[in-house]
Amino acid sequence: MPNSEKSKSLNLKDIKSDESHEGIENEVFQTLMIEDVKYKTRLTKKFLNRKVYEPVDPKKVLSFIPGTIKKIYTAKGKKVKVGDKLVDLEAMKMLNTIFAYENGTIAEVFVKEGDMVSKNKLLILYK
């Protein structure tokens, strides 16, 4: 049975507790600016790869979900009104119709029927 006295005399193997960080003084650090102060520090991969914010462009129609283009209702040069069907995008076994949310003229259609698209791919551009 468990015996706490015994466990006290255990000689557990050291795991990662001996790594030392000598050489920090010679390391060349990057800078991070917070509240007007520049801090010397390491930057992480995740931080460096973070998504840079792009403001919403009303001229661009993007795929809101990854999927397959099933049908295209419009074409380059066509005029569309708010509520007109633009494309059918099938995703996760559901057919989603993307409607025009602005009046205008189509400058370019970047996909064709049968295309597989990732999320936020540019589908249609207004003039």
Partner: protein, 515 residues
């Protein structure tokens, strides 16, 4: 039948069951660099301590010609044993038997050993190596997972639950580990995901390998789903053994004390590891090692959100949980990931009566659209919630910067730290001197003949007045300003006198933490 022939019949049956999936399947398992389920249990537990149950359980599949098949132990091994005399209930999925797939009886074996662990109030270790649900058993497989998840949740905070991923763990199966306290993975062997590369390819057209999608390294560095990363199964087992030495068997017990040992000061003297220049980064793990027993610190989630450091160590022989900002990475800021990491660890320590020692040195929260849109408000709030809720002894040491919201969040006296100590190098202020001077003296600076000179002058003025621990000490927000070399003694004393700490909490079913 005579007793001896009965015995030899038993022996024959056992031998058949112990063969697992047979030589061919075992060879295949070994070819991928993996141990078999039984070898894993033997390697992890104390010699001869493993006692197996339910060896003769048979599967319950009736459809798709399953009834003719014999699956030894139904693809999972369950039992009890000890790890350095620390009692555990354990199960290990056997990939050599039907790919370790989870059917009705397989799940029954797991839930039975889970129920044992809860009844006996001892830790549960689950070794996962499974292709997923046994499709032939249909809805019974789903029921099995659901029964496991329910028990994981009920056991959470009562007994330690450890998940070890030593093979694939995909689809619904990932949620049992996710509900447990600590998840261990091994490079190249562990793979976890909800939807695999094939589904992603057919549905979305995105191509990615299993390793890049949910391999051990990805889970340890990027997702934060796992807590310990090892290069080999044997290293992984050593990590589990080490962790078990720090934590109690259940929430009513305390972790076993060890003989007290001073830090190895030759290597980790605070003088050596803590820079005098306030802008110089340093490795806060070395500061922890300079304070704790034998400089022995078991870091948890060492690859994820490295701007905060969490882990177990001992002070005067007793287990404590350390939470420390890491100036070496992202200047030690709080962000979405580091908040999640710290908050969960704080709640773990609180649930299992492990006192918390917090080392503070942070410039604040990480600015950025990505952070705000990822909900840094909600995630940052978890730290406030976890510290405020925790009733274990809470000791805080402010070593350098403690600015603004970061000061409050890092277990300040306002969140009911029992003792807050500050080093003379501490700067406790509403924000950094540069930012504060730019706001407070904006008029003087812009109207000055030489604005840059004026700015520098005002920053210096602000620094002298506020960038120190004495303003906070004057209000009693800091209990003592101490020199770094006193830290260990002060913390040990504070922990010793708070050992019987009791806090009255308002009657409630449970709070609603900002998950």
């Amino acid at each position: 039948m005579s007793l001896s022939s009965k015995s030899s019949d038993l022996k024959r049956r056992m031998q058949e069951a112990l063969r697992g999936g047979g030589d061919k399947a075992i060879q295949k398992q070994k070819a991928t660099g993996k141990l078999t389920a039984r070898e894993r249990i033997i390697a992890l537990l104390d010699a001869k301590s493993f006692h197996e149950y339910d060896l003769f359980v048979e599967h319950a599949g009736r459809d798709f010609e399953m009834s003719d098949k014999y699956l030894p132990g139904d693809g999972v091994i369950t039992g009890t044993g000890t790890i350095n005399n620390y009692p555990v209930c354990i199960f290990a999925q056997d990939f050599t038997v039907a790919g370790g797939s989870l059917g009705y009886m397989h799940a029954k074996k797991i839930t039975k050993i889970m129920d044992h662990a809860m009844k006996l109030k001892i830790p549960l270790i689950g070794i996962n190596d499974s292709g997923g649900a046994r499709i032939q058993e249909g809805v019974n497989s789903l029921a099995g997972y659901g029964e496991i998840f329910y028990r994981n949740t009920q056991a959470s905070g009562v007994i330690p639950q450890i998940s070890v991923i030593l093979g694939p763990c995909a689809g619904g199966a990932v949620y049992s580990p996710a509900l447990t306290d600590f998840v261990f993975v091994v490079d190249k062997i562990s793979k976890m995901f909800i939807t695999g590369p094939e589904v992603i390819k057919t549905v979305l057209g995105e191509e990615i390998s299993m390793e890049e999608l949910g391999g051990a390294r990805v889970q340890a560095e990027i997702t934060g789903n796992v807590h310990f990363f090892a290069e080999s199964e044997i290293e992984c087992f050593e990590q589990i053994k080490k962790l078990c030495s720090f934590i109690p068997w259940n929430n009513l017990k305390k972790a076993d004390p060890f003989p007290k040992k001073p830090p190895r000061v030759r290597q980790y003297s605070l003088e050596k590891v803590f820079p005098t220049n306030p802008r110089q980064p340093y490795d806060v793990k070395d500061v922890i090692r300079g304070i704790c027993d034998d400089s022995d610190f078991l870091e948890v989630m060492d690859l994820f959100a490295q701007n905060i450091v969490i882990g177990f160590a001992r002070m005067n022989g007793y287990t404590v949980g350390f939470v420390a900002n890491q100036p070496l990475v992202l200047a030690g800021v709080l962000d979405v990931d580091s908040s999640d990491k710290a908050a969960r660890f704080i709640r773990y320590c609180d649930a299992f009566s492990i006192p918390l020692v917090t080392l503070v040195d942070l410039p604040g929260y990480l600015p950025g659209v990505d952070q705000e849109h990822a909900g840094v408000i909600r995630h940052g709030a978890k730290v406030l919630y976890a510290y405020s809720e925790a009733t274990v002894p809470k000791i805080t040491v402010i070593t350098r910067k403690a600015y603004g919201g970061g000061y409050i969040a890092m277990c300040s006296s306002h969140l009911r730290a029992d003792f807050v100590f500050a080093w003379p190098t501490a700067e406790i202020a509403v924000m950094g001197p540069e930012g504060a001077a730019n706001i407070i003296f904006r008029k003087e600076i812009t109207e000055a003949e030489n604005p840059d000179e004026m700015r520098k002058l005002k920053i210096k003025e602000y620094k002298e007045k506020f960038a120190n621990p004495f303003v906070a000490a004057a209000y009693g927000y800091v209990d003592a300003v101490i020199s770094p070399e006193e830290t260990r003694d002060m913390v040990i004393h504070a922990l010793a006198i708070s050992a019987d700490k009791k806090v009255d909490v308002p009657m409630k079913k449970h709070g609603i933490p900002p998950f």
